[in-house]
Amino acid sequence: MKNQKTFFSFFLTICIVGLSFAQSSNVSGTVSDADGPLPGATVVVKGTNTGVTTDFDGNFSIQAAGDDVLVVSYVGFESQEVGVSNQTSISVVLSSSNELDEVIITGYGSVTKRDATGAVDAVSAGDFDQVSADSPAQLLRGKVAGVQITSSTGEPGAGVAIRVRGNSSVRSGNEPLIVVDGVPLAGGNTSSGLGDEILGSGSAKNPLNFLNQNDIESISVLKDASSTAIYGSRGANGVIVITTKRGTVVESAPNVTYSGSVSFSSFAENSSFNDVMSRSEYISNLPSGSAVASESGSYKWQDVLLRNATSTNHDITVTAGGQNSSTRLSIGANLQDGVVNKTGMDKYNVSLYNSYNLLDNKVNVQTRVIYSDIEDESHLNTNTAGYVGNLIGTALYWRPTLDVVDATGAYTNVSDDYLNPQELLDAYDDNTFTKRLLANVNVSFALNDNVTFRTIYGVDSSTSAREAQLSPSMDIRDTARADGKRGQASIYNDDRLNRTFENTLNYVSNLNGVDVNLLAGYSYYSYVSEGSVLHAKGFNADQVNLIDNIGGVVDVAEAYSIGSYKNETELQSFFARASLTYDKLLATLTYRVDGSSKFGEDNKYGSFPAVGLGYKLFENESGLINNLKVRGSWGVTGNQEFAVNSAISKSRYSNASISVVTNANPNLEWETTTSTGVGVDFEILDGKATGSLDYFQRSTENLIFPVPEAATKPGPASPRFINLDGELVNTGVEVGLNYNLVDSSDLTWDVSANASFLSNEIQNFAGFVQTGRIHGQGLSGAYAQVLTNNQPLYSYYIFEFQGYDSDGASLYTQPDGSAGPLGSASKVLDKQALPKTNVGFSTSVAFGDWTMSTSFYGAFGHYVYNNTANAYFFRGAYETRNVPGSVLSSGQAIADPNSPSTKFLEKGDFLRWSSLNIGYDLGDSILSSFGVTNARVYLNADNLATFTDYTGFDPEVAIDKSMGGVPSAGMDYLAYPKSRTFTLGVNLTF
């Protein structure tokens, strides 16, 4: 704490030193819009760093010379330049800008939507839902056409799948490149997943959790090759550019803001959820003479598993500006409890931004440091649980006639494969500690009026430890050692060190009426990944702290298994871009040459060209159509998110013998995506409506794949990665619309909506690749999805269920179309796991001091495989295990097996009312005696309702059911349930 204080006062000193006094005369005035004064507008003397912000009545006072020009700006309004002309009082009326004028930060530059030649979009801080988002990706959800955000589960900190214009890779990763303040992040996780042969495997946490929502200024999405080709071999999946907040650009005293909120979360029950039976229903279905009927206990899974969770969030931000510098410091604490017991995420952030001008403003040095410390508390939420179950599985199957704890406080013990959920809850612990530091220095240097040289050096360092243990007090089948000793502990350490070094030269000029913006650059990136794992099993029966005393294991020689890994990827790139504007014609030409150590020896460098063209058919006209630009783009991008060491031969030692891991392919290259797109950006109806419409086609070739063992025969069993023939084609239409319904002096009402329609197909592909592993009793080797020719990725390939015959045996579609037994049935291939349509809708109203906004999003046209029902909900499980009442009335025979089939395939369509926010501006009157100049209170509701027919916890789900490194989609298996959250918050400005 003492250190923090010291640091804080040091920081304040810097700010104050930065202040200085100008020498000109005093000019005062007011800034207003059509509705009245604008507090917080920025007034800057053009060409200087001298500036002020307006007070609550829109008044300002600034030192300026008689021939100076003042630049007046305000977020959401068009900037205006006003000559002082020796006046001492100036009134400025700003008019509101629209979507087309929003500045979008792109790769190595920025552009307004009006002038963009590519498909780009952005969401800025004002558009964020006031949810306490774990990950910045969630802030984009439902906001940008063509971007799908899918939370894998409802657990705090859980992984989020981001898809920009669909899935373009078979198994090399479909996550977009994330660029934070100019530094491209390494793909992959920063923390470890779980891997246990008996208890199952669990997913890693979302690596983007390290960013604090409060620090994010804007998130841009670069969707087409014209805008992503500048990132070359990493641009194929789209690029998300995150820009963090900066200090004020004007000279001012330190400005302090505080935001705090408290949230209450509870299980968001889906009205279509097919719950297991209550105690009374369970008993009423028992046959006469059943031994279970005499059980007098009672149990509700919700009581053991779930809780009403409380979370708190605090952010303190200090910004200050001086003549040559500006600074922002923020400190945040986000303590989030999950609705499942013993889960949650505690996150602490510090973020520092400083900008300093020197050498007559020719050199600008920006420094950013983001540090986060995250503690994730998780539980046994495994993706691969079997008959024994995981935390949620046991909670569901434990029958409601049995107490979990008897009168003496002891756990009710049934057997080692029928686990007591309360005992499992208490006996298992899983914590992940992740510390991440992202720091970069960005120096720009104006060589003359036209040429700027910029260099960025960035370091991204993280360490993570995941620590999981199962107490020796609990007896789970097959977890004991041969000598009967129980209890196990696992420690996974993962360290990352990523370095970025980029240099660019930028030339901006007007040559013969052509606006020219040229960029050339060189980049070097190094990504080092290393880690280790330690498992131990067989502890003293009364040992409690296994993780912190792992040496307590009995009979050390047999107790441990250990491992470690390390790898490094280096990339080196040269790139250039020309942006040209002539009258109404816009053109962007991009070229990047990327080299990567991951590529094969004979294929170290790849070239990625792109071109974007735009033409403004209408520009600043009045009437029906005000602005309309057509644009088209073509480009080639790559995907190199395949595993390190894929192109070389590699052997590893294991138990003193050496074995081949991979075989070399000196020709291995990146996956290549060729994109073509056309679109229009428009502003119509006297500026009331703006929007975009896009059509695109993306075709990915050179699909990277390990040659399956059978295809490389005769040959070694270890794989070789090859670029497989075939194309993965994504075709889509995107539309985004914003409409200003009412814009009067006391009421504004905006709506915005977006939709994307996507089709995905694999073509000219010889493979028939299985994925979507199904887990559960009697389901070994079962899978639900395939990748095969002329089908979308992750198409379901399973038997078609046709009901039950009179004996209660399941019937399936036979090759001739009739219904018959499984042994002679044939599988069908006609349903897809990827949504065909994604929509988002939001609206906001401002009325006096009140604001209200609400958002919806949804996905349609896809199916979810309910592995939970497949594994646990069958007639034969009752009377031992709980099942939904519908299983008893289904007509299924006690002995009929739950074979994987369309019985468990459900429509995944959903529309979610994702947020509602009501805010009230208290102004400065109430709390001014406490030094508060502005205060706002708000009430937010998150995940209010979901409209779906899906019978699981939630249709928005993506449990990792990959096979052989090939990911799956849309599979549900004991997913952590989603929560509904109400938040009460306050923002204070001092």
């Binding site: 150590s597 050496i658 005769p714 028939f768």
Partner: protein
Amino acid sequence: MKSLIKFIYCSVIALAVVSCTDLEEQALDGVIPEGAGGSGTSADLSGLVGDVAALHNEWNRNLGVQEMPGDAMAGPTRGGDWDDNAALRQIHAHTWAPDHPWIGATFNVLMTGIYNADLILNDSSQSSDHHAAKLLKAYFYFHMMDKFGQVPYRDSYDDMTLDAQVYTRAEAFAIAVSLATDALSGLPEKASGGADTPNKDAARMLLAKLHLNRAVFTGEAGATSFTHDAADMTAVIDYVNDMTSSLNQGNGTADGTGYWANFDKDNDGSNELIWALKVEPGASDSKGFTGYYWRMGQHYNQTPGGWNGPVMVGEYYDYFLENGVADGDDPRATWSTPEIISMMGNNVGVQRGQIKKPGGTEDVEDRKGNKLIYTKEVPLVVLDPVAIESAGFRTIKYIPDDFDNANADYAIYRMADAMLMRAEAALLGGSGGNAQADLDAVRARVGLGSISASLDNVYAERARELWWEGHRRTDMVRWGTFLSSKELKPAESDSKYLLFPIPADALINPNMNQNPGY
């Protein structure tokens, strides 16, 4: 301005330092083996024998794909158990597809063997093992032709990024005959008790099997009747005539002792074994495993315990009741000794009816407390709640030793098989054999009387003599009965099922074509 220049200077230096990377990839947590691009592996004969073992050491490899698609074995689903995504039912009902896991695994096991044989044959320092490697390579070729009809190969292993080429069935046949002939010339005669070492009798047996099936392997795909060349049949007879192995018979062994000496824990002394995988707990050269021969079918509550899985189909058991033989009188299906009853409580062979505890007096019950009575009738999905655990006859082919361990060598080839092949060849026009004498000898060895030497009787005798030894599918294809309707498969199947499909994964090799119909 000076500091400006200094700044640029520093930046350029930094740029130059960093940009020197050659992007060479390192294996920081492993080693890059010599000769990148090659296979990076080596093989030896012991490992190659291990590849043969891999074909036989799991019940759902050779045994599963040879016996379950035929009429002998079925794997009923029992409630939530033994569903396995329909893998067992598909195999029995002839509805498998290229994604069937057993088919893919069997393909990989066979092709791994061919690869390792090539590594040995390409290594002159292992020339003393080359004849054995040729025998094993030919053996794997036989199975590839038999099951998949085509064999991928490489002329060179220097550039593994090239796709393998593919031999047709007829090309592979010629190569297999040539390899086995070479092996025969260089291998030693079988030593006493030496069936677990590659030997001349093994090569003769493989050559006899190749010639016996030549019409199938080189004929038209999808055919169910064959014209056998008399020269091939004579070759079969000649190779069997040359063998030094012999039936276990005489000295009062016709009560079954002679037959079961092939499957008991001390079977390595049986001169009837032509070629075997050594099974001996703790021995470093022990390659085989015969434990699943009782585990797979035995009920959980039986001694020794098992997995309560595959059963012998009722109509197949009826073969033991033909020719007026009473139920229980064919010792190949029903045999026990006082030690066996004391140890397990039940006979070896085919277990039927009430199952007993060790000692043979107390009844065993299933997990719900019902009497454990194995019934002849069994559907592919057992729906009757009482019969879930008990439906279907169970078998013990290899006898566990006193400690519930596998300790009997696995018989790859057996003399009784060779003699029945010689009888078949004689009936199909080969010269130099005596079908009646061979058939009589095999039956007399288990105390059964003579029946006429007809092809039908040889077929039925093979069913009785060689039950669950992994030959049935090949026999049924050769006899043209494989596609016919059977107890648990009412309709005749499509002719595509005469061959297994090429596993879906293998088709990524563009030189590989899927078998017709799949």
